[in-house]
Symmetry: C2
């Protein structure tokens, strides 16, 4: 047996039970707003899930200590796929997203903190479903942090470093000794940022419901909004500032917050990835603001800066909120946003994409390789935070970036069978792979993903999962070697 089926089965039971529990807040929300058919839809989803979940969990006897690498991959992939498959059910039962494939896309987009939607009119959705839709971002955001920092090492994959999520940055094991304890601290940080943002938005006059929706979207770097025009709906500088700061904080490596908690400011601010993140975002903000100003898109440099700051942070953190229809911006600004979609935020944050640390390592690798052309016998090692990066890590990073670009090209090729223009096609794949949300042209910030065929909707859902689970987790499952016990 190449897989520990019993343990996987038991874990499926646990996931189903937890998911049923996580639907309860949305159920309460629909009770609160007297949305009867949504209440029914949730009960029809939650009860069978609870029954099945508890039966499976109770009856299957499994030894979790015997889990191997292969099992870990399957579990990670199943965890996200199953949650999305089940989370999609209330949308279908309530009749608001009748096509199950569309509902699956919408939920994958939620859990992967992408924020791409197939809904043409979000505002017609009942509050219970809007809450659930945005709450999946929040669950997904917390999930990915635990996935990268707690689950994988707990499954014995620490040495393996599957995802190469934090190849050289500070890792949690070095700061706190026990994983269960560190998970708790991570939960607390995540929940604190969440509560703080809700509070700040409410203080500015936002309704509690809207404050929660926008907070889930920003802390999870997801981007689902309850308005068709996203954050532009409010046209409120204070809200934009709060949300920008929250998105930016969510794009930082969460382990760095340990340093903040202990007031080790020097370690915090000297982190190479954080500095590069700041540098990249600032450069984007400045270039876009100048480009918008010189192109007379906005009346003043101040206004240009306002839109540039929000949009750069939103795209760089792979959130996808918008305060402007950036698809109408000049090509140079759009191209910068496009590049930001690829780079993404910091490792071990809720953001996605290639990640700053990997971009940094590739950049240093290239710089060294150019030196080697002139000095073939020189030995130059790559250092991050004054520590050398092992050659295994470097090649892991290179693999990742190549695979990322490969998935982008193959995805674009497959999606192009739907015969929309290349910009729509390529930006849809880039945006879904980077878990951003909006793209350009027909998938621009004021439009949606309903244009695609069912096959393409599934492809895009798959691409979101591939991006969220750091490529290898999903791609491995499609190799012969994975299923061949002899190799």
């Amino acid at each position: 047996m190449i897989l520990n089926y019993k343990a996987i089965m038991k874990l499926i039971g646990i996931i189903i039970t937890i998911m049923a529990g996580l639907m309860l807040p949305s159920l309460l929300c629909s009770y609160f707003y007297n949305e009867t058919n949504v209440v029914i839809a949730f009960w029809f989803t939650i009860i069978p899930m609870l029954v099945f979940g508890i039966i499976i969990t109770r009856t299957v006897k499994a030894d979790f200590n015997s889990l191997k690498i292969r099992d870990g991959y399957i579990i990670a992939a199943l965890c996200w796929t199953l949650s999305s498959a089940l989370g999609a059910v209330p949308f279908v039962i309530s009749g608001y997203i009748p096509n199950y494939i569309d509902a699956f896309f919408e939920t994958v987009s939620g859990f992967t903190t992408t924020g791409a939607s197939i809904l043409a009119n979000v505002e017609s959705l009942p509050k219970g479903l809007l809450f659930w839709r945005s709450f999946t971002h929040w669950i997904g955001g917390m999930g990915i942090i635990l996935f990268a920092m707690a689950l994988l090492p707990a499954l014995g994959m620490r040495g393996q470093r599957i995802a190469m999520a934090e190849p050289a940055g500070p890792t949690i094991e070095k700061i706190t000794p026990k994983i269960s304890q560190s998970s708790k601290i991570l939960y607390l940080i995540y929940i604190s940022i969440t509560l703080l943002e809700i509070l700040l938005l409410e203080l500015g006059g936002m309704s509690t419901f809207d404050a929660m929706i926008n907070t889930f979207g920003s802390v999870g770097t997801g981007g689902y909004s309850n308005y068709n025009s996203s954050i532009a709906h409010y046209n409120n500088l204070y809200f934009e500032m709060v949300i920008t700061v929250s998105m930016f904080l969510s794009g930082i490596n969460f382990t760095l917050y340990y340093f903040v908690l202990r007031r080790h400011w020097k370690e915090f601010f000297s982190d190479r990835e954080l500095r590069s993140y700041l540098l990249i975002v600032s450069a984007a903000v400045l270039l876009i603001a100048l480009n918008l100003w010189f192109s007379n898109c906005y009346d003043s440099l101040g206004e240009s800066l306002r839109y540039s700051v929000f949009q750069s942070v939103s795209i760089a953190t792979t959130t996808g909120f918008s305060t402007a229809n950036f698809d109408l911006w000049p090509t140079f600004s759009k191209m910068i946003l496009f590049v930001l979609m690829f780079i993404g935020g910091c490792s071990s944050s809720t953001s996605s994409g290639i990640k700053i640390i990997r971009t940094l390592i590739v950049f240093k690798y290239l710089k060294n390789s150019i030196s080697l052309r002139l000095h073939p016998r020189a030995v130059i090692s790559i250092k991050i935070n004054e520590r050398p990066v092992s050659s295994d890590t470097v090649s892991g990073v290179i693999n990742f970036v190549f695979l990322y670009i490969g998935v982008f090209f193959i995805g674009t090729l497959l999606l192009s069978l739907d015969n929309f223009d290349l910009i729509t096609t390529a930006s849809a794949i880039a945006s879904c792979l980077g878990n951003v949300g909006p793209g350009f042209n027909l998938v621009g910030p004021e439009l949606n993903y309903s244009i695609f065929s069912n096959a393409s909707t599934l492809l895009l859902s798959f691409v979101m999962l591939v991006g969220r689970l750091e490529l290898f987790t999903i791609i491995l499952l499609f190799t012969k070697q994975f299923w061949n016990p002899d190799r």
Copy 2:
């Protein structure tokens, strides 16, 4: 002194003299067609070049044996840039391309065998200039083969393998002992293919002039035509077949023709790069033909195949001839052509792009890296033609591909300042970097590069040179280290 200025100076003299000589056939052509102002333009270019060239060559005393790696880079870059700068002069003097920057672009595009043009109406050009324009393809094609296989090793860069042009394929040194002798054989093969194609086209009823233009364009994988509609002008299946075969043969590693000359068919057909080349082109042909047929672009599968074969080979070999306005094709077909632009042809051929061998090595590297996820302790080496590829070569290839993608992104970002749509912008850079010629949208096969600003025209010329000289040769010249003697 970090550079051997005297030797470089003397080489400049030699280049100028040779270039003057290479303009003579075009001069003869304009005499033949009684194009007086073109004759004058050529004399006004050739005479000063001969005078200066001979003076420099005679007066500068230089020791070529003391040439170092740095000198080699400078010489390679100068050779192409200077040839283009001088080759542009007749266009300006004759008044047919009054803007020198445009003329420079047109000539760089010729020598780099790109075939991108700033001319809206090619057919208005006198024959002498049309001949010169296409002849630069032929010179460039021969130049690049010698550059990769004879010049660099002669300059002592054999061990260095600057360009990593033939990282694992058969290399010329292994087959023939002396470089001067091997250069001669290469000349002969190149000239034989040229003469054969001219003959075959004439046998089909093409005029001698047209036959020469089209042959220069295909053997050099350049793509300049003397008609606005390129090869579509003839609408002749026989011509298309001859040109397709010639482009395809020019995209093969020229050293493989040694095997053909010696009738070592087994070695020829078992070459990994050649097989992958066949496979990639065949796959592209088939997919595009089916896509065109299913989209009802053409009446029959036969007709779809006809256009698919020509266009796939033309783009894959980075030639750029067209028999159809492929910009009107469905997105899937366009995306395949876009990917072919990046891959390019075989190493040590006249084609450009990333090259098949590098694509193959990256592909094998990625495949191995996926295996390593499951078997961390396994040692797997990459083999091409049953011989292991050294890790230095693999990392050289990885650098190259990253740099290629980097140049593509940075180039697109800079070009986007002209504010044309992203498809125009990105495809212009991809096409120039891969030395293809046409792109999509505003730089599609029936349009031209005259839309861009002077700064962008220079940028695109630079990108063509960077692509042609295999990135490092040019990029190194822009590093601090290159000009710093202490490092």
